[in-house]
Amino acid sequence: MSNQNYYIPHGTYWPVIGSIGISTTFVGLANLMHDVSWGAPVMGLGLTILVFMMFGWFGTVVNESISGTYNKQVDRTFRWGMSWFIFSEVMFFAAFFGALFYARILSVPWLGGADNNMFTPELWEGFKATWPLINTPGAIGQGGTAFSTSFKLVDTWGLPAINTALLLSSGVTITYAHHALRKGHRNALIAWMIATIALGVLFLGFQITEYGHAYHDGLKLTSGIYGSTFYLLTGFHGFHVTVGAIMLTVILYRIQKGHFNSENHFAFEGVAWYWHFVDVVWLGLFVFVYWL
């Protein structure tokens, strides 16, 4: 058995273009946050470079894949790569879930005097440690200016429950799509893919609607620790759903172009894994952010 079949590409400019793109984006974003006038256009330029890079890099890989350059071993490399990339994403969300649990279980009760913190409540008269934390210490202590809060909670069994159903169903439809792909049922495959994307887009639409209601009812990023964890967790999840939906659309396009066959379709599987990961994160969100 020889390694000569393992494809080693030679010479590529896409990575350095990607580095230029991502650095430009970050420099633009940092300046935008500091109200520098050229921040936004520079960030836009950076994002454009990034999109250009993705088209170019993925395009190259797709062409190599179609022309049969990759063997089984390369396929296994992609599988390892995608699995551990998803694990790194899991750990990114773990940081935010960790912050949520730390606040709920430890630091908010401590602010209210739990454990050996009996003098802490003296700092803010009338502070009650509750979760969700509606009245922050700042809202009480400093004339109600810092983190002044008064918001209504999102109803668990309204939009969030519907969204749970949508996302779980999309997990089922993508599995049906995979079965159709493996059996070579092209029309069923396309139908299930469209259903999956539609469910994802519907989810995003409801999520935006829910944000609108929450914001209208006073729940903002600046509403203290509840708003912080709520928006960062659901926001990053929503961002991942958006990315997942874009990837699914690309896969649908590639299905139309006839890029996959019943044996060889790792790109489809990788996106399906990602979609399931987004699904599982949502379950965590539904239980710990919206429900309990």
Binding site: M1, S2, N3, Q4, N5, Y6, Y7, I8, P9, H10, G11, T12, Y13, W14, P15, V16, G18, S19, I20, S23, F26, V27, A30, M33, G68, T69, N71, R76, T77, W80, G81, F85, F87, S88, M91, F92, F93, A94, A95, A99, Y102, A103, S107, W110, L111, N116, T136, P137, G138, Q142, A146, F147, L221, T222, G224, I225, G227, S228, Y231, L232
Partner: protein, 536 residues
């Protein structure tokens, strides 16, 4: 299939391209390893220059050279540059050079991604260093960037620092994914997991630490970013958050991080000691299991960095005992190294000198770590120069020593030439003596109560600080000699054999020196693998 072989065969013969753009486009593991190593070395010199500034200010009591704010910027950037710019990239560079050769692979599993992992670094470094020239100066809150110093009270440049950390973390995660895919998927079909050399094992385990820890760091700096710019309250008690929460999240990354920086060095030492003691490595399997145990434990001990920050006593006890547990697998490793050289026919070539001094000096750092891990003792040591002495013994005479030992050990394989042995030994003794002059007195300073990260100190600390600074300048200068030895080797070195060390084992020594551009086009056989394996 025929087309595929043709692609590979065509590529094999043209080898490296000509011109400078080769280094931008390259997908070759040796080119990328070289880029990583030179980048790390230049960052080492830069971070070292910051350290020289720190030691110059601390040469005498009182404020001489800089205002305290700039001193704080120097300590912060020294730490960040050394950790993220020098030590971590140097080890990834070693991994790039060595892992494909050690597992009998032609190259890394994901060559384009490999290029990106490197080519993010110069951009991240540039963004990080540009903060020096911004209004309000560079970040000055220490490399641990605790909130609220890094949120409420930090200069605007902190947002650039945050994005630099994002990029550096991105590079590490991509690099780690690549290494896992290379080790598990590219190793010779006849190589079993327990045939793998220890450098490969330690890097495989380190990759899991990177993928587990770096995204958490990304989460921490993202929370900082939103706290600073979008009014969230993660680390602000007035909004119901907690600055201590920052420390928990940071050290959940930070403690695995210290093992990320030392485990590959353990691997390097486990290659060098057997070669120059002319004995097989003692306890191969226990070395593997000890490394995995250390990695596992590193995830569940983080709050021993925070004993004085405030936590329930039960928490302090748990984190103290869990920390003590790490001494067991670490002890297994140190005893195995000692047993490896026990009654060996030792010779003392330069790599061996670095490896032997690693065992002794790293163990000193390990012991001072044990002292710091004991809660009642830590109340005395916390945030003093004792901590500075401790982590410089594990990071300089541990991690950096492992890197330098590896450079001398594998330089003949990389360049095909031999370095100047006399100069190598002069450099070793110069660095080894001076590093102890810098850092050993800092133990006494810390025990006597000198706080870290302060530009001025009371008179009773003057003598030891003077000694430490003199040692610091000498140690800094030793790296000029190091650079000379490496460049001299590349330019004027005598040709080296494919196996320049008489009893070295490992598949990399079966390749010519310098190693061919594509390491193994035909994977080694079972017999070759067993012949070169580390277990006896």
């Amino acid at each position: 299939m025929s087309t595929i072989s043709a692609v590979a065969a065509h590529d094999d013969h043209h080898g490296p391209e000509k011109g400078l753009l080769r280094w931008v486009k390259t997908t070759n593991h040796k080119d990328i390893g070289t880029l990583y190593l030179w980048f790390a070395f230049s960052m080492l010199l830069l971070g070292g220059a910051f350290a020289m500034g720190i030691r110059a200010e601390l040469l005498h009591p009182g404020l001489q050279l800089m205002d305290p704010q700039f001193f704080n910027q120097l300590t912060t950037m020294h730490g960040l540059i050394m950790v993220f710019g020098a030590i971590m990239p140097a080890f990834v560079g070693l991994a790039n050079w060595l892992i494909p050769m050690m597992v009998g692979a032609p190259d890394m599993a994901l060559p384009r991604l490999n290029n990106w992992s490197f080519w993010v670094l110069p951009f991240a470094g540039a963004i990080l260093l540009s903060t020096f020239f911004m209004e309000g100066g560079a970040p000055a809150f220490g490399w641990t960037f605790y909130a609220p110093l890094s949120t409420t009270f930090a200069p605007d440049s902190t947002d650039f620092f945050i994005f630099a950390i994002h990029l550096l973390g991105f590079s590490s995660i991509m690099g780690a994914i690549n290494i896992i895919a290379t080790v598990l998927n590219m190793k010779a079909p006849e190589m079993r997991l327990m045939d793998m050399p220890l450098f490969v094992w330690t890097w495989l385990i380190t990759s899991f630490l990177l993928i587990g820890a770096m995204p958490v760091l990304a989460g921490a700096v993202t929370m900082m970013l939103t706290d600073r710019n979008f009014g969230t309250a993660f680390f602000d008690a007035t909004g119901g958050g907690d600055p201590v929460m920052f420390q928990h999240i940071f050290w959940f990354f930070g403690h695995p991080e210290v093992y990320i920086m030392i485990l590959p060095a353990f691997g390097v030492i486990s290659h060098i000691l057997p070669t120059f003691a002319r004995k097989p490595l003692f306890g191969y399997a226990s070395m593997v299991y000890a490394t995995a145990s250390i990695a596992f434990l590193s995830y569940i001990v983080w709050a021993h960095h925070m004993f004085l920050t405030g936590m329930p006593v039960a928490g302090e006890l748990y984190f103290m005992y869990a920390t003590m547990l790490i001494a067991v697998p670490t002890g297994v490793k140190v005893f195995n190294w000692v047993a490896t050289i026990w009654k060996g026919s030792m010779t003392f070539e330069t790599p061996m000198l670095w490896a032997l001094s690693f065992v002794i000096l790293f163990t000193i750092g390990g012991f001072s770590g044990l002292m710091l891990g004991i809660v009642p003792a830590d109340i005395q040591y916390h945030d003093t120069y004792f901590v500075v002495a401790h982590f410089h013994y594990v990071l300089v005479t541990g991690a950096l020593w492992g890197i330098i030992a590896a450079v001398f050990y594998w330089l003949p394989k990389w360049t095909g030439k031999m370095y100047n042995e006399t100069l190598g030994k002069v450099h070793f003794w110069w660095a080894m003596i001076s590093v102890n002059v810098v850092f050993f007195p800092q133990h006494f300073l810390g025990l006597a109560g000198m706080p870290r990260r302060i530009p001025d100190y009371s008179l009773q600390f003057a003598d030891f600080n003077y000694i430490s600074s003199i040692g610091g300048f000498a140690f800094g200068l030793s790296f000029v000699l190091f650079a000379y030895i490496v460049v001299d080797c590349i330019r004027n070195g005598k040709p080296a054999d494919s196996r320049p060390w008489y009893s070295a084992k490992g598949l990399e020594w079966t390749l010519s020196s310098p190693a061919p551009y594509h390491s193994f086009n035909t994977p080694p056989t079972r017999a070759e693998i067993l012949e070169e394996s580390q277990h006896s």
